[in-house]
């Protein structure tokens, strides 16, 4: 009887086994990341990506979430509207549980509604526009908003620099951030007795005439120059400023506080003051471990993009683990209270906004030195 039946079973077994073999053993948990990996703010985007990768790698090394590995799906928005839309669509199609990013406010304004359409949560590490503050929506952030940063900077400047007359320029390429920041700053600085005497808008591109911009800023004869722009532009502007008006105080925004600023600025950015997302000299053990891992993996030190993104990613993954897959992720994030961060705990309010410590730093000898 066995002989009679055996061939039959064998026949059935072969395709069965083949199919079984082809099956995935476990479905990974997909998390999306979107940021400007190419384009003029690629340093920030890449830094953020690295932070996210590191967070995912660390969680996977610890066994994943409930034994499922985490997979990061990385999309580039190229700091471009169409690219961003497509990126979100692709992430949605890839069935990610949430999106980390974007890194810039303008991109966030574009991405958020699309993500909302697909029911996806967005946790941004570095988007600070106040337009997204205090809204009960699918957008969360792990850093303070521009109100906080601009206010902080305004106060510091008022306290340390007296009442200065500042000329500012802003990059309309990231308008949602730069305009928002400058408006707040202008408001607060005025309240502190300062004044914004000039305001030059430009749109960053390869053909940007930085010299012309500085020239225009100088026409209002300011005491200092405020650059509300990215690291690349700030570096070039600093060059021009040093060339055209070497004695003027230069101030930049936290958006430009990447390593590239120093690399590209060189001596021109010495003495530049700007607010920071984080303290590069922090001795927090978590941060030190993170920094070491980052350096090992990526060959350079992490910037604020990497640090903030790491926090955002790690928090998301922790929430995923706690949610058990069936609770509303946002609710979990908001109601859990506190998540461990690298330098400080991450805490969401009921709108998904967070408070992050703000540091004021100055570039000295090619390094950021925190002064407040």
């Amino acid at each position: 009887m066995l002989c009679k039946w055996q061939p039959r079973w064998l026949v059935l077994l072969v395709p069965l086994m083949a199919w079984l073999g082809a099956c995935e053993s476990r479905e990974p948990l997909r998390v999306g990341f979107v940021g400007g990996l190419s384009g003029r703010v690629a340093d920030l985007g890449n830094d953020g990506r690295n932070g996210a990768l590191l967070a995912v790698a660390m969680v996977n090394e610890a066994g994943g979430i409930r034994d499922n590995p985490v997979q990061l799906i990385v999309k580039d928005d190229a700091q471009n509207r169409d690219t961003m839309v497509q990126a979100i669509e692709e992430l949605a199609a890839a069935n990610v549980v949430a999106i980390i990013g974007p890194m810039t406010s303008s991109m966030a304004m574009i991405a958020r509604p699309i993500a909302e359409q697909h029911g996806l949560l967005m946790i941004s590490p570095t988007v600070t526009t106040t337009a997204l503050t205090g809204r009960d929506d699918n957008f969360l952030r792990v850093s303070s908003d521009s109100l906080a940063y601009a206010t902080f900077s305004a106060r510091y400047l008022a306290e340390t620099g007296g009442h200065m007359r500042l000329a500012a320029c802003l990059d309309l390429g990231n308008r949602a951030y730069t305009e928002n920041w400058l408006d707040v700053f202008t408001d607060k600085y005025r309240a502190h007795g300062g004044e914004i005497v000039g305001r030059v808008a430009f749109t960053s591109s390869a053909d940007t005439e930085h010299a012309a911009i500085v020239e225009r800023m100088l026409t209002s004869n300011p005491d200092g120059l405020l650059f509300v722009a990215s690291a690349v532009d700030t570096a070039r502007l600093a060059h021009e400023a040093k060339r055209q008006a070497p004695d003027l105080r230069l101030i930049a925004v936290e958006w430009s506080a990447t390593e590239a600023l120093i690399e590209l600025g060189g001596r021109a950015v010495e003495g530049l003051t700007l607010s920071n997302f984080f303290d590069r000299d922090s001795l927090a053990p978590a941060y030190l471990a993170f920094k070491q891992a980052y350096v090992e993996r990526f060959g350079r030190e992490p910037g604020f993009g990497g640090t903030a993104t790491y926090d955002a990613t790690y928090t998301l993954l922790a929430a995923l683990r706690d949610s058990g897959g069936d609770r509303d992720l946002k609710q979990v994030l908001i109601t859990t209270g506190e998540y461990p961060g690298l330098q400080q705990p991450v805490r969401f309010d009921r709108f998904g906004d967070a408070q992050r410590d703000i540091f004021l730093a100055r570039i000295e000898n090619g390094r950021y030195v925190v002064i407040r």
């Binding site: 064998l10 072969v14 190419s38 340093d43 021109a268």
Partner: protein
């Protein structure tokens, strides 16, 4: 349990076998081929990586060659001129920005643009001292390619090459996009998928269809870490859900890693093809086997079907049919066996039929009336009756089949039927139950019914045997009455006979008395005769003696006379002789007389007074001879004796010699009478049974029949009045039988002589009616 048609089963079996065979072969093939493909793929990938690395280096070298004029002349030309030179080098397919940086990091001259549009010296004065490429170039003496970084000049991700020289560094940049295009152009002939990462694991370029790879960081990827450490590349990596066999080659010049990938698994065309072909083969073989299987199934089925047909016929009872020889040995054998079996069954059946017929015939011709019925619904129904039954009861066979006795009213008393059937049910059989039955015309028949039942299959059948005993009963009754009559007669006759018997007994008794009296009177007469005889007998010797003595007297007288005259010697001798002789004769005669008296005494006397002793036969015979010789001397006859010695007897010698004497006398007197010569023989011999035989024979005239028959009767003599009392042989017989315990035999025929045989036991019996002791106590 599922059941299949043979055809279906065979088809499935063949199909499954083919499939299984092909599967196993395929698996084997795959097991052999797939690893081979993998190995080849790995090798291929390795080769490709190497090639691409070389191609890249070539491309990069080509790019670098573009810079040669700037490199060579860089030191010598002034800012303006060098700027122009830079501008001329820039082209659509090459560097997009070139600048010269002094040792401090300050840009001295720069040129950037895309072919037509060239921005000169835009960057002059910029401080690139923080630029890692610049910093690295300061310490290098050969051209260095940078990692990906953000260009100050262009604000895009850039790759740059730095040419250090004595006091300056020439840096030429191009966007990663352009580099990618350049690399892609080199990769066009490469059929495999390739991507390039820089020293940090950041993507540089690839020839993959989608751009997903470029944003991922590769530094931690297994293949890149392997490349960095120089270890073996992993066998399989996954990209975008597909798996590949990777190989890497590190370009020392660029510090970049070229990773080429050959799809593995089903993405690999070779593998896919192999698997496809194998699957196709399997499917094809499956289909072919499905198509062919029915044919093969038929091939097997045909002979089986003929077998089945055969057996079907046989099961239906058709034993005819033949078997065609078949190619397959087993089937052929089976067919033949079936054939044989069918024949055997047929023969058996026909013999069974014959048997049945025979049994039926037997049943029918059985001389006893028999009926077979079967039980049906609590009652019985006739199955069959035999001829004898029909004749006995007068019903036809057809009229009774299916009916029973109650219905057809055979039974005089239904009670009998009930009893019979009950008995049958209780004991299973009944023997000799007598009941009155009615035949077809209403006559009464007395039947002795025996029945036995048997269960045949599920039916209970009973066989009844009817024996018509009506006549027999009648005869029996007659016989009985005759017997009774006979008995009565016999009784009567017996009574008569008894009466006669009684009468006879009485008569007998009186006869016996008369006989006794007669005997007594005879005896008396005999005795008288005997006495007369004795007297007569005695008279002879005594007379003789008297005569002799009177003679003697005469002689004496004479002698006296003589004496007176004068005695002569001769006269004296004569006288003495005469006296002697006379006395002798007288003595003898007296002795004879005495013996006779003794003998006569013996006839009546108590035999017990005879003397018994042991003696030798020979002696006795010699004594006898002695006694008898004198008598025989005067006759012409001789007496011969022959007795072997040492025959001892414990008996009565006296009577014995008397017997022998008697016999000799008889022989002389009767047997040899009138003859002028003759011999009397006396023989003694031992006889069987410890007996001794004395034979006295003569060669005389013998005895006629009538004499022989009466010889031993008392007082029978052939010469009455002439010397015989007739008692001699009687007495002799008595003596031999009673005293000596033996028997007398004789044989005689006229003219042939006579022979008497006296056979006696060596030890004579003791007389029974005496008061003597038992013989054992007697000493011999």
């Amino acid at each position: 349990m599922p059941r299949w048609r043979l055809r279906t089963f065979l088809i499935l079996l063949l199909f499954a076998t083919t499939l299984a065979t092909f599967s196993m072969v395929s698996l084997g093939l795959l097991a052999y081929r797939l690893p081979q493909i993998k190995r080849d793929a790995a090798q291929d990938a390795q080769l490709t990586a190497r090639n691409v690395s070389d191609l890249l280096e070539n491309a990069v070298s080509a790019l670098q060659i573009q810079l040669r004029p700037a490199v060579l002349l860089g030191d010598q030309l002034g800012v303006q001129r060098i700027g122009k030179l830079f501008g001329s080098i820039l082209n659509e397919e090459g560097f997009q920005a070139i600048y010269r940086v002094d040792k401090r990091g300050i840009v001295q001259a720069s040129s950037s643009g895309d072919g037509n549009v060239v921005n000169q010296n835009r960057l002059v004065g910029a401080d690139l001292s923080g630029n890692p490429l610049f910093k690295a170039a300061l310490h290098s003496d050969h051209p260095l390619w940078s990692d990906r970084y953000l260009s100050a000049l262009r604000g895009e991700l850039t790759i740059a090459v730095a040419y250090p020289s004595n006091d300056q560094v020439l840096i030429a940049e191009m966007t990663t996009g352009r580099l990618r295009d350049i690399v892609l152009r080199s990769l066009v002939p490469i059929k495999h998928q390739v991507f390039v990462v820089d020293g940090h694991g950041e993507w540089v370029a690839d020839n993959l269809p989608d751009g997903n790879l470029r944003h991922t960081h590769w530094g931690a990827h297994a293949i890149v870490t392997a490349a960095r450490s120089g270890g073996p590349s992993p066998e399989v990596i996954e990209l975008n859900g597909r798996s590949f066999h990777p190989a890497y080659h590190r370009s020392e010049k660029l510090g970049w890693v070229v990773i080429s990938m050959i799809p593995s698994g089903l993405d690999n065309p070779d593998q896919a093809r192999t698997i496809f072909l194998v699957s196709l083969g399997m499917v094809a073989s499956g289909l072919i086997s499905l198509l062919m299987a029915p044919i093969w199934a038929s091939a097997i089925q045909r002979p089986l079907r003929s077998l089945i047909r055969q057996s079907r016929l046989i099961s239906r009872g058709d034993y005819s049919g033949s078997w065609q020889p078949n190619r397959i040995i087993e089937i052929d054998e089976l067919g033949n066996d079936l054939r044989r079996m069918a024949r055997a069954i047929g023969e058996r059946e026909s013999s069974l039929e014959k048997n049945e017929k025979y049994l039926l015939e037997l049943f029918n011709i059985a001389p006893n009336a028999m009926l077979i019925s079967r039980s049906v619904d609590e009652d019985y129904a006739v199955l069959d009756v035999n001829q004898a039954w029909v004749e006995l009861f007068g019903y036809s066979r057809d009229s009774v089949v299916g009916q029973n006795g109650k219905v057809l009213n055979w039974w005089r008393h239904l009670e009998d039927r009930r009893k019979l059937l009950r008995g049958l049910e209780e004991w299973g059989q009944v023997t000799g139950y007598e009941a009155w039955m009615l035949n077809a015309v209403g006559d009464e028949i007395l039947c002795s019914i025996s029945a036995a039942s048997v269960t045949r299959e599920t039916e209970r059948q009973v066989i009844f045997v009817y024996v018509d005993i009506t006549d027999m009963r009648k005869m029996q009754r007659e016989l009985d009455s005759m017997n009774q009559e006979l008995e009565r007669l016999v009784a009567a006759r017996t009574e008569e006979l008894q009466r006669s018997n009684r009468d006879l007994e009485e008569t007998l008794e009186s006869l016996s008395v008369a006989q006794g009296e007669l005997v007594r009177s005879e005896k008396l007469a005999a005795l008288g005769e005997l006495v007369a005889g004795i007297a007569h007998e005695l008279n002879t010797p005594i007379g003789n003696a008297g005569i002799t003595l009177s003679t003697l007297e005469d002689h004496i007288k004479a002698f006296r006379d003589l004496v007176s005259l004068g005695l002569k010697r001769s006269a004296l001798d004569q006288f003495v002789e005469n006296v002697d002789s006379a006395s002798h004769i007288a003595l003898r005669n007296i002795q004879r007389a005495s013996d006779m008296v003794a003998t006569f005494k013996q006839v009546a006397a108590d035999r017990a007074s005879s003397q018994r002793r042991t003696f030798d036969a020979k002696e006795l015979v010699e004594e006898l001879s002695l006694i008898l010789q004198p008598m025989l001397k005067r006759t012409p006859y001789k007496l011969r004796t022959d007795a072997p010695g040492e025959i001892e007897l414990d008996s009565y010698p006296g009577p014995l010699s008397q017997v022998l004497t008697n016999l000799v006398n008889n022989a002389v007197m009767h047997g040899l009478e009138g003859r002028d010569r003759g011999t009397v023989r006396v023989l003694v011999e031992e006889a069987a049974g410890d007996q001794v035989r004395f034979i006295v024979s003569d060669d005389g005239i013998g005895m006629p029949e009538d004499v022989q028959s009466r010889m031993f009767d008392p007082f029978f003599t052939t010469r009455l009045g002439s010397g015989g009392t007739g008692l001699g042989l009687h007495i002799l017989h008595n003596i031999v039988t009673n005293v000596l315990g033996g028997r007398v035999e004789f044989s005689s025929a006229p003219g042939a002589g006579t022979e008497f045989r006296i056979t006696i036991p060596a030890r004579a019996p003791f007389p029974k009616d005496t008061d003597q002791q038992e013989p054992m106590s007697q000493s011999r």
